[in-house]
Amino acid sequence: MSQETTIDARNTFCPGPLMELITYMKQANVGDTLELLSTDAGTASDVPEWARKVGHEMLSSENRDGVWHLRIRKAK
């Protein structure tokens, strides 16, 4: 049974949103979905680039009231 987990990385500079995502991705099972919340402008491009390179699936990316919501499915 796949799970969906939200990672609240808003207003964080270290270790930062992508590093948080990588941490949670290591803990997740294949098929799980992670939703990353971030206020860092770079997240919108950094996360898809990493996901593409590793081979995870970007499901969605949108900015709501200044907060990026990125949903990624663990594919491997």
């Binding site: 609240d8 964080t12 270790p15 930062g16 590093m19 990493w50 590793v54």
Partner: protein
Amino acid sequence: MRILIVGGGTGGTIVANNLARRLAGEIRHGGVRITMLSASDRHMYQPGLLYVAFGQMMPDELYRKQQSLLESSIELHIDPVEEFLLDQKRVKTAGGHTHEYDILVIATGSRIVPEEIPGLAEGGETFYSEAGAVKMFKALRAFQEGTVAVVVGVPHKCPIAPIEVTFALHDYFTSRGIRDKVEIKYHYPIGRIHTIENVAKWALPEFERMGIRYETLFNLKEVDAKKQIVYSEEGTETDYDLLVAIPPHRGMEVIERQALGTGGWIPTDRRQLKMEGHDDVYVVGDTTNLPVSKTGSAAHFEAEVIAQNIASEVKIGAPVCEYDGKVYCFIETGYDSATYAMFNYENPPELKAPNKAMHWFKTSYNKMYWTSVRGLL
């Protein structure tokens, strides 16, 4: 009021000492009792391990007796917790004892797990333990020429360590007069050379000036110790003659075994520092799942907030302050210069130019830590 602190690292020790002072009257009159359960009778100054790896400190300089760091009113037991019975407000220890509490502080910290990366323990040097730091120094000392690869596991304690060890490697080989025979290759998990944008912006020209090569988006997948190759999750590989690794970390086994938090990290309210769903349980330092640096500095500032709030709960029945995400990190930029990064949830760090004075301040802090952890600084 029984206050139980589980863990005798930086966070737990500062909470205990700060509380003992704030509640000295209540303790004297028998209304409050502070008990600490620690896994070790020795307290290690962990940032000193980097210096041990470069022969600049000896291992015995890193330790003090835990009892010697605590206010005399604190009851210390060297007896790690085996079981947290949060619904019953008690814990069971390895020694078979049960301790009941009214307020619990979990400060169990984190541990390195190089075994999560196949081949890393066999092929890599690391300075995140005393034995590892000494072994790394001997490997550096024996190294005459070739490629040194720096790789970084996720998550890891002390996020500035990858940069610091890289600068230290440059200065170490320069001081031995063999820098021209050593290639340093730095690998980092995200798309720039440090997670803090201002650190990355500052360090990049320094890397170029020092001739340090780098590769970003490099997450450790596997090490082939025989072929001396590291493979990344991103599908790239790098060869090495000496591998220096920042190992991945997890929270302590007891936290995972008790299902208190995935990866051993306990879900924690980022401002109140209470365990989610448990009003009588505080979490401090590496043990939290907070999106802040796993450093002694974060633990220190969190501990002050926790101690202040527990004391005010005892005195007026309510907490009085919140953690704002404050972290202050020294950044050693080589053998004789340093700078620092200070930030919180709202304000990113603004880096100052490295200088010798800040390096000597850090060198002094290596001794002042023992005052700091006593809650005096």
